[in-house]
Symmetry: C2
């Protein structure tokens, strides 16, 4: 099935509204999921609609919630997602943080009582498009152990980053701190195939090629002990400093069981000219140029932007099973 982005957004928005989600929230969620799909991130795209709707129907996500932002310090915006979806809370941060950053030089948005952060590249990019550097950290239901341990305590705890470049599209980084996405292990369980021995550990903390054992165990952090340490850092920033649940306290984002996940997201944005002066964006463009002139180097974030530009022109292909599942919810 082929659709324009506007058709897809309208369809998804209508499904959420039909399930009792506030129109403004339904629009925000629909935009985020369709843009994720357009950027080639189908794991954060339209396949999520059924699970999201199920959670709205049971009240695990409050479709009537309104996110509220409070400026608790000159440089801090505390955002309460109020057990609704994350996207309206992220929209609030994108709307209110930049003015604070221009005034203060740096500002921090701390989001709690939140849900799935989606494709974080899409959020940090919105700051870069306003001329600001942004870092974003999110926690997620626990799937990684602290280094040396066996029990899941951290999520795959992604870090995203975007920087404006004078005269060019922003650079955008978005990476989870697990070696591979958990979805890849899940896929192997469905196909009944083995996984490489450096993707995950079994419940005893040993490397395993058995995908079923891996799903019961923990995901391997990217770069071993260093990735596990960075996951701890993200946990502190995204949950400790926002007042969100820690990853090990958060319920699943995929089913309707348990209380709201109550996850957290932290965004730090900086005005590049605040310390380095007006020439900062020019120098950042020089750095990107130094990267790009090496054979074999792709600037981070450009592939996703290219796919989205393509999708804006020619629309997206939605798989039949996904479309059927979405339409059944309307």
């Amino acid at each position: 099935m082929h659709m324009t982005l506007l058709e897809a957004e309208t369809l998804v928005k209508r499904v959420f509204e039909a399930n009792g989600v506030l129109p403004a929230t339904a629009r925000s969620v629909a935009l985020a999921l369709v843009h994720a799909e357009a950027a080639g991130q189908s794991g954060h795209g339209l396949r999520r609609v059924p699970a999201y709707v199920k959670q709205v129907r049971t009240g695990k996500v409050d479709g009537q919630a309104t996110a509220v932002a409070e400026r608790t310090r000159p440089g801090v915006l505390a955002v309460d997602a109020a057990h609704g979806f994350a996207y309206p809370a992220l929209d609030l941060a994108v709307a209110q943080l930049p003015a604070m950053v221009r005034e203060q030089g740096i500002a921090f948005a701390a989001i709690h009582r939140s849900h799935h952060a989606g494709v974080m590249a899409l959020t940090v990019e919105r700051f870069a498009e306003q001329g600001l550097v942004a870092m974003m950290f999110a926690n997620a239901p626990a799937s990684m152990a602290p280094w040396g341990g066996k029990v899941p305590l951290f999520g795959t705890n992604p870090i995203a980053f975007a920087t404006p470049l004078e005269g060019a599209d922003p650079l955008v980084i978005d990476l989870a701190l697990s070696k591979v996405a958990r979805g890849k292990v899940m896929e192997a369980t469905q196909k009944g195939t083995d996984i490489p021995d450096d993707w995950a550990f079994d419940v005893d903390g040993n490397p395993t090629t058995d995908a079923v054992a891996a799903m019961k165990g923990t995901m391997a952090p990217s770069g071993g002990a260093k990735g596990a340490a960075l996951a701890l850092m993200v946990e502190v920033l995204a949950a400790g400093l926002t007042g969100a649940h820690f990853s090990h306290q958060a319920s699943s984002l995929f089913d309707e069981k348990g209380p709201p996940p109550s996850l957290g997201q932290a965004i730090i944005a900086i005005d590049p000219s605040a310390a380095a002066g007006a020439g900062a964006a020019r120098r950042l463009a020089d750095l990107a140029h130094e990267m790009a002139r090496q054979d074999g180097v792709r600037l981070p974030g450009r592939r996703g932007r290219g796919l989205r530009a393509e999708a804006a022109k020619h629309g997206i292909k939605i798989e039949d099973d996904v479309m059927a599942a979405i339409k059944a919810l309307g």
Copy 2:
């Protein structure tokens, strides 16, 4: 040779003063190097004294420089290390940033015209001891290529992080984004031994076990493409936002050749209570407790603190060649 920390500090301070370094700077450098040594980080410890002194003698480091801090925005402290050592500039940030953080909720110290950042754990920890969360990013002379490339463009670009815990010592993370320290490859060239094939690439970008070929090539990033992406993020923060040289523009920290390295360091500090309220430090202690109760898990930063406590009581052992080299400089 065995010395108390005070004896070692006094000796090192005197050597720098004898080479024309301002007394306050000599003290700051001596403290940093001796504490690094005490924390078991000899690569950033007393072995650096001869290279440091050589750089002072040739003017590559200005021993008469005075670091100057300017509050360019309510949340931003721009620190000019003035081509002197990094440590007095870091001391300035530690002295002035916390009051800004308490007022603003978050603040950013941007240090440029700087030098070797030393053991960054020791700097971020000083914020945690004042009840603040701190992140630190530094660039370094280029040794890693952007992912897919062959030419060094980023340093090993470390990230450090510290968080206070109510009723306990802080958690402290300090990691370079290369898979292993470059010093390990250098050591292999001296011993004439091979290196594992995942430590470094040759000039053609191929994995190599030949340490000599690796020194001419590039270091492998921790976690592959993800580590390389994070090194780019650190480059933007530590150089792009501070006005420092990029890593590929910086001269060596080990010899007296070329102009000053003019590296950068970025510190972001946050008041944990700014968004999450007064209970934040208590919850961070809970998280550390969840980690520590797993068999096999060591809390990051505790080993270094333990070694320093031990050294404060019983002194440190300084190898004869290091001591002889230091004394020859006096």
